[in-house]
Symmetry: C2
Subunit: 225 residues, 2 copies
DNA sequence: ACCTGAACACCGTTCAAGT
DNA sequence: ACCTGAACACCGTTCAAGT
């Protein structure tokens, strides 16, 4: 028995696991972006050979899924435990938007991945689903609502990421006089601020209409922080 | 003079250009997906050596931008020429959603690219901007409206692409009983149809609220095909 | 059980050499 | 002006060999 335990004083050398790999990978992405995440670079950060990683992950794709779950775990759905569903849903949506916005590089990779092996992601959805159900939403309307809001949230995160000059027409402005004028009218305005303002409008619009359609009454006291 | 012209009967061998490269690339993506688009594969399709492509495009990235412009050019904004802005905007949004949905693999790559060297994209935006301006929209509200709708459209296209089982919790369903039940309640229902229905709701909600805010009256006869 | 080191089949891109 | 062919510096992944 005792022979199986590592001798005292000898440093542990087996340090690779999902958690440690995920956080090293996220650090690389945070510093140098998604394209910088290579198996070689990741192995270097972990003081290990690239092939060693394959003892813990079956592929780079799997590591990307770990990262996704890790990011989704940052979304704050705790408001469902403390306030009415409408307020909680808004705070969740904002948090979701902010998290996705901060990791917009990943959106393309993340959006189509299944949720099956992603414990933190599933936990997040559970909080939302439970909160909505407790708030009077019929179970059959929960997924459609989440789907629609996610649509909007992903899109909003995209726009947050968009460079200031996405709409610059460059040499083509002669061909697009009205559009060029419309773009010019935004010059100097904070696109991000506009975007966030529009997010609130869109959120209210979607939730109000969906709730009405599902026959769900608004909570008595709707805070709108 | 005559000496510069290619001799009759000799086949032209210089056939590479933006158009021909773009369409070959799109065909590869259509058949085998985005990952299958490599410079080698593209060159093969064009009966040419990979390095030959670099006489026409400065990088693979540039070719991806050509593809983006080509895809955006398929969005139908012609309704602005024939009907009121509200109906036209809806038809444009549906077309945009359908085009993005059909090319959802590209969304991640496309969303952050500038519009500067993209003539068909700019032409599409011009139709929308001109139509809105003619319909009474203040020029300063045009870009914000487009931004918000694009948010929603991209998100909706994402959801169209989502596999049926995105929300399957797998072995984790014990940890997420309510969410698992909510997902189960959708089983057998056509997610795509639900998604399209919700798209209309979201669209109306966003446009109505944004128009009201901008002080734009609805057109007298709003068709809702 | 886990890591190394060599190898494999690819990538995108460059560049001298040809016509 | 445009294409070829060889080369370069990478990729992700596999696998026998070690401990």
């Amino acid at each position: 028995m005792a022979g199986n335990r590592r001798p005292a004083g000898r440093p542990r050398t087996r340090i690779l696991n999902r958690e440690v790999i995920t956080s090293a990978a996220r650090r690389i992405i945070a510093i140098d972006g998604v394209p910088a995440l290579t198996m070689t670079r990741l192995a270097q950060r972990l003081s290990v050979t690239p092939s060693a990683l394959y003892n813990h992950a079956t592929s780079k794709q799997e590591i990307l899924r770990w990262i996704e779950d890790s990011v989704m775990g940052e979304i704050d759905a705790s408001a469902f435990e403390t306030t009415d569903w409408h307020t909680a849903l808004r705070e969740w949506a904002r948090s979701y938007r902010d998290v996705m916005s901060a990791h917009s590089e990943l959106i393309g990779a993340l959006a189509t991945v299944e949720v099956a092996e992603s414990p933190r992601t599933v936990a997040m959805y559970e909080k939302v689903a439970a909160g909505l159900a407790a708030g009077g939403w019929p179970i059959a309307s929960v997924v459609p609502l989440i789907l629609t809001l996610e649509s909007f949230i992903y899109g909003a995160a995209f726009n947050d990421h968009a460079p200031e000059n996405v709409y610059d027409t460059g040499e083509l402005s002669d061909l697009a006089p009205t559009f060029a004028r419309a773009v010019e009218a935004q010059r100097g305005r904070d696109l991000r601020a506009i975007n966030h303002e529009l997010f609130e409008i869109g959120f209210d619009a979607i939730v109000d209409q969906t709730a009405e359609r599902a026959g769900v009454p608004m909570p008595a006291t709707t805070a709108s922080a």
